[in-house]
Subunit: 625 residues, 2 copies
C-alpha cells in the first residue's frame, strides 16, 4: 500500500502501521504532544481519497470530520490513500526566525566576559616527521608536540590507537585533534589527517518533561544556526516525571523511555542537519540539560530511587558519555555533556538557568523561577544559592489543557477581553497564522482577563450569565476563546482549575523558600522568570492571578527558555562550563514536599489572586473597582 501526499511524494506503508508512524519512517514528522495516543489532536491530516480506518476522532470537530480530517496516529489505511498535511500539523524548525535570537545569545555570551572557547577544542598540529635521530613513537610525538604547546595532560582512549599511524602520515604529519577537558585532563575525541578547523558545530539540547528543544550552534562564531523543538514523546507514558518513573520501574520500561527521547532528539537533529546541509562529522559535541529525571532517562540511568523517600538520584554529576553509548546520531566518539543536577527535583536545567541569568554573580538578592512541567525556584546571589521544587504540572506548556499547546506558530499567546463589550482580542504567534491552541502566556492572560471581567469568580468557576462565550461543553462549562473556519478553541472549567493549581504551587514555592531562609519578598531585588511562554509573558497578569508576588514590575525579567540558553553558553565557553559546575556544587537543595508551610501556602493559593488578598494590594484595588 502507498500513501501519496498532495505534494506528489509517495510513501510505502505496511498494513497495521498508522499514518503517523509511516510518515515518521519516511522522515516526515508531525507534531504530537500525546506521543501517538490519539488524545492531543495535534497530528491532524486530511484524507483526500482512499479508504482508511480511523480509530479515534477525539479533538476533531464535526466540521473537521466532514472535511476528511483525521488523526494520523490513529488512522490506518486499508488501501492507497491521498493525504494532505495541514501546515500546523508539521513539526518544523524555526529556520529564518532565529537571527534575532542568535544575536541576543551572542550578546549574552559577550556580557558574561567569556570568550568563544568551545567545550571541545580543535587543535591543528604540524608534526616534525621522524628521523633516525628522532625516532620516538607516533604517540610520543603527538604528546611531545602538545606538551610543548602547554598542554598539561593528554588522555588518548585506546580506540584511537589502531588508526593513529595512518592518520598521522596521511597528510604529511599534519593532523587536527578534537579534545574535551574531562577529569583534569584533555581527552582526545577525534583525530583527523590535515587541517580541519572548520566547519565546527555543537548541539545544545534542553530535554523538558513536555518539550524538547535542540539548538544547532556554530562553534567558531557562536551563531545559532537553527532551532528545532517538539513535544517529548515520553508524554505517552505520562505527563509528569513521577508517572514516567513509575512506568520505568513498574513496567520495566526504562529502555523504552530512553529510546523515545533519544529518537526525538535524533529526529530534530536530522531535520536541522538536512535543512542546513551539515555533515555529521562537523558536529563536535552535544550538551544536554534537563531535570534530574529527564537526564536520567536520557542517559539510561535507573530513576526509581528518585521517586521514593529519601529521593536519591543515581548521580548529580555525570561521568562524560559518548554519542555512541547513548544512541545519539552524530559521530559515536562525540562527547555528550550532561549538565550537573542538584538533587532529585532540581536538575541540570536549573543550573543551566542560573548560568544563563548569571544569578551566581549578582551582589543583590535575586530569585530565579523556571516554570516548566515542574516549577523550580532558586534564591541567592554571588555568595550563596538555595533551590527548591514545586510541582506545578505541565499546563503552561500546553499539556493537560484541552486546547493547550506550546508557544509555537499558531499559539494564542495574548488574550484581552474588553471590559464592557467582553469582546476578545487575541495575539497569535507567527505571521498570518490561524490560531490552533493556547500557550502558557495566553492562559495567564485569559484567566486574568476573565477574572477582571467577572467571567470567572475567585475560585475560577465560570459564570453562566456574564459572557455569551461561556457555554456547556462535553465535560462541563467552557469558555470559547476562538471560533472561526470550523475551528473552536476553548478553556474548560477543568482547564482553569489546572491552571489555578499550577499558579498556586508556584507562589507557594516562592513564599515557602523565602520563609525557610528568613527573607521576605521585599528583600528580593530581581526575579528572573524562565519557561516555555514564548517571547511574551505579561507580568502584571501573572501577578493578577496570584502566580507571581506583587512587586514593582521592573523587578521582574522574563528570560524565556534559560535551560537551553545555559547549554548554549556551556557549549561555547569552557570557563562558563566550569562556572556551571561551580553553581552545582554551591547550590543547596531544600525539600519543600515535607514542609507543612508549603501545603498551607498552596491551599491558600487556590484562589484568585490568593486567600490573603492583602498581599496583592493593586489587585485588591482593581477588585474593589
Amino acid at each position: 500500500m502507498e500513501i501519496t501526499l498532495t505534494s506528489g511524494k509517495r510513501i510505502e506503508i505496511k498494513p497495521g502501521t498508522s499514518i503517523l508512524e509511516s510518515l515518521k519512517n519516511a522522515g516526515i514528522y508531525l507534531t504530537s504532544s500525546c506521543g501517538g495516543k490519539g488524545t492531543c489532536g495535534k497530528c491532524k491530516i486530511i484524507i483526500k481519497s482512499g479508504q482508511a480506518v480511523s480509530k479515534s476522532k477525539i479533538k476533531l470537530s464535526h466540521e473537521e470530520v466532514d472535511k476528511g480530517y483525521t488523526l494520523a496516529c490513529r488512522t490506518f489505511p486499508s488501501e492507497d490513500v491521498l493525504i494532505d498535511i495541514p501546515k500546523e500539523s508539521m513539526l518544523v524548525v524555526e529556520g529564518k526566525v532565529v537571527t534575532g535570537k542568535s544575536k541576543d545569545l551572542q550578546t549574552l555570551l559577550n556580557s558574561t566576559g567569556a570568550k568563544i572557547d568551545p567545550l571541545t577544542e580543535r587543535i591543528v598540529l604540524q608534526l616534525p616527521p621522524p628521523t633516525l635521530d628522532d625516532n620516538i613513537s607516533d604517540l610520543e610525538r603527538l604528546r611531545r608536540e602538545l606538551f610543548s604547546k602547554g598542554m598539561g595532560c593528554l588522555r588518548v582512549p585506546f580506540r584511537f590507537m589502531p588508526d593513529l599511524a595512518k592518520t598521522m602520515r596521511k597528510e604529511n604529519w599534519e593532523i587536527t585533534l578534537c579534545t574535551i577537558h574531562t577529569e583534569d585532563c584533555e581527552e582526545i575525541i577525534r583525530i583527523t589527517p590535515g587541517k580541519k578547523k572548520t566547519p565546527q558545530y555543537g548541539v545544545a539540547v534542553d530535554i523538558g518533561t513536555t518539550t524538547i528543544v535542540v539548538f544547532l550552534i556554530d562553534l567558531i562564531n557562536g551563531e545559532l544556526v537553527d532551532i528545532a523543538s517538539t513535544y517529548n514523546s515520553q508524554i505517552r507514558f505520562g505527563d509528569d516525571v513521577i508517572t514516567r518513573i513509575v512506568h520505568a520501574t513498574e513496567h520495566n520500561k526504562l529502555k523504552e523511555l530512553n529510546d523515545v527521547v533519544v529518537t526525538d532528539i535524533n529526529v530534530l537533529l536530522s531535520i536541522i542537519r538536512k535543512n542546513h546541509r551539515i555533515n555529521i562529522d562537523s558536529i563536535d559535541c552535544v550538551v544536554i540539560t534537563g531535570n534530574t529525571t529527564m537526564t536520567h532517562l536520557f542517559l539510561g540511568l535507573d530513576p526509581s530511587a528518585i521517586r521514593e523517600e529519601p529521593y536519591i538520584p543515581t548521580a548529580n554529576a555525570f561521568p562524560l558519555s559518548y554519542a555512541g553509548e547513548l544512541g545519539v546520531k552524530v559521530n559515536p566518539n562525540i562527547p555528550v555533556y550532561a549538565f550537573p543536577c542538584i538533587a532529585s527535583y532540581v536538575g541540570g536545567d536549573i543550573v543551566s538557568g542560573v548560568l544563563a541569568t548569571q544569578l551566581h554573580k549578582k551582589q543583590e538578592l535575586c530569585m530565579f523561577i523556571d516554570i516548566g512541567t515542574n516549577g523550580e525556584i532558586v534564591l541567592g546571589n554571588a555568595e550563596w544559592l538555595v533551590a527548591a521544587a514545586c510541582s506545578a504540572g505541565p499546563c503552561f506548556e500546553g499539556s493537560g489543557i484541552k486546547h493547550g499547546m506550546r508557544a509555537t506558530d499558531g499559539a494564542i499567546e495574548g488574550v484581552k477581553i474588553h471590559p464592557e463589550t467582553l469582546k476578545l482580542e487575541l495575539k497569535i504567534i507567527g505571521d498570518n497564522v490561524k490560531p490552533t491552541g493556547i500557550c502558557g502566556s495566553g492562559m495567564i492572560d485569559a484567566i486574568a482577563e476573565m477574572f477582571l471581567t467577572g467571567i470567572i469568580d475567585q475560585k475560577g468557576k465560570l459564570q453562566k450569565d456574564v459572557s455569551s462565550n461561556v457555554r456547556k461543553g462535553e465535560g462541563g462549562l467552557e469558555f470559547v476563546v476562538y471560533s472561526g473556519d470550523g475551528m473552536e478553541l476553548v478553556l474548560a472549567e477543568s482547564d482553569i482549575e489546572n491552571i489555578i493549581r499550577a499558579k498556586a504551587a508556584i507562589y507557594a514555592g516562592f513564599s515557602t523558600l523565602l520563609k525557610e531562609v528568613g527573607y521576605t519578598f521585599d528583600d528580593i531585588q530581581k526575579i528572573y522568570i524562565a519557561g516555555g511562554f514564548g517571547k511574551f509573558l505579561d507580568i502584571e497578569k501573572a501577578i493578577m492571578i496570584g502566580m507571581l508576588p506583587e512587586l514593582p514590575k521592573e523587578k521582574f525579567e522574563y528570560k524565556g527558555n534559560t535551560s537551553v540558553t545555559g547549554a548554549y553558553l556551556c557549549l561555547l565557553s569552557r570557563k562558563l562550563r566550569a562556572e556551571a559546575e561551580e553553581i552545582a556544587k554551591k547550590m543547596t537543595y531544600i525539600e519543600l514536599s515535607v514542609s507543612h508551610s508549603f501545603m498551607n501556602e498552596y491551599v491558600s493559593g487556590l484562589f484568585i489572586p490568593h486567600t490573603n488578598i492583602d498581599a496583592f494590594p493593586s489587585v485588591k484595588k482593581l477588585m474593589e473597582k
Copy 2:
C-alpha cells in the same frame, strides 16, 4: 559427516573443513607450529577407519604413512572417520608440573621486596544507606566513602552508571569494586553487589613471535595456578616479525594477524579455565608482554612503520585497553595492560625481562640477553640501561629447523656424543616420553658435541666419514640424532647453518653493544640469559659454539622465560608495575642494524666458535687436543 575419536567422542564435520579445524571448533586443540600450513608435521593423527583425502605427507615417515598417520591440518574426510590422536599431538597445559615453578615465582616476588598488591584491586564497601538528611546521589555516596578511605581520584566510566543504583541497593549497600590505577587515577572496572573478595585471578601472557605462554595466577596468594603454551599461529604468515609486518601491510591483513593471536590466547585461557573450573568473572586483569611488533599485532595497531627506516612504532607506552575492545574472552570490562616497549625492535618482553632479573637494581654492570625469535640485549645497572636488538631468527624455538620444537614434553633438550664410540646420549623433557623433536638447548648441545667429535667442521659442514649417523637426506647431508619406533629425528646441514647464523648474530650483538658504550666483556659481572630453552641450558656448550662469550661460568645465570615472569610480577604488584614503567623510561635504545661493526662481528661469528679463536681460549685448548 562425523569424526569419531577413539575415546568415543563424536564431532560433526562440514565438507571442506580439515580435521584440525573441525577438532578446533569442537574445543580439541592440536599442536601446530606452522599454523596449519602442513609444513611442521606436528598435528599428526591416525585414521583408524573411513576415507579421507590427505593433501600433504610432509614430515611423515613411510612407516607412519603405512600405519595411517596423517596431518590433521591437511586431511579432509570424505566420509565418517574414526581417528586416534597421539598424546604428542595434543596441545596441553602443564597442570601439576607448575608447583615448583609457582614456588620459584613467589620466592622471586618476595625477593624484590614487593608485597602482593595486584594490578587490579578489589575494595569491599559497606555504605551508609541514604536518609532525608543524607540524600546525596549514589555516585557521590560511593566517592565519599572511597575518599574517606584515602583514595585521591576515582574515575567512573559511563558504562557503569546505568546499573549503579540497582547494584548499590541489591545487597543492602554493600558492594565490591574492582579498580585499576591508570593515568593518575583509580578507574572502576567492575562493580558487584555484596562482598566478592575471592576468588580473584589474573592472566599473564607472553606473546612471542614463535611461542605464546599463558599463566593463570591467583591474585590473593600469588600462586601460579597453571601454564598453557602453544605456537603463535601467526607463524603461517611468516616466521619473523618482518614477514608478518609485510603481510599486514602488503596484504592488508592486519585484522587476520590480530585475530589469530587473540584466538590463540583465548584457546589457551579456555583450556586452563576449564581444567581448573574457574569462572570467567573471577578473572580481574590481563597483562601481556611481547616484542613491539607482537604487541602491535595483538592490540590491532598498524605495524607498517616499524619495518621502514626510521623504524617507528605507533606507541611504546600503550593506553590501557579493555578485553572487550580486543576480543579477549574474559569480562569485556577487564583491563588488558600491555608492557611498555622501548623502540621498534626492543619490546615489552625485554622491559619485563629486566624487571624479572632485577637488573635495574644492580650496582655492578650486568647484561641481559633474551634469545627468542629475535635476540635482544640489555646492558646496564641501577644507574643506566642501554638495549639493542640482533635478529637471531626463530631456530632456538624450533622454527625453521626440520625437527625443531619448543622446549615441551618430547623435546630432546640435551645431547652427548661419546668422544670415542660416537654413541649418542639424549635427555628428553617429560617422564617416559619418546622424543618428538629437538629444542634449542638440544641444538646447542648437539652442535658443540658434533664439533668436538669432528662430525662437523668449523664452518658447520657435516663430515661424511666420521660418524655412521651422518647420511644423505632429501636436501643434502643430515645427522641422525634419534631413530626408533619408526621415528627419525635429524639435524640437516641447512639446520646447522641456521643455528650458526643465529649464534653469530647473538655474539655480534653482545660485542657490538659493549663496544658502543665503551666496555669489554671483562667489565661484566653477570650475564642473565632468557629464552625458551626450557629448564636447561648448558652454558659451556653455548660458549663452545661461540654463542656466549668465554667468561667464568658463575657469571652466567639462565633465567628461562623472563618475559612471562615479569608479567607475573607486574600482575601481582603495583609497585613492580611502576618499576617496569620506570625501566622503560630509563632505557636507551641503540640501533645496531646501521652499525658496520655489527656486520663485521656477525660475519666473524659464522665459524665455530669464532674467527677470532683467541677470544675463546678454553675452546682453543680443546681444539688443540
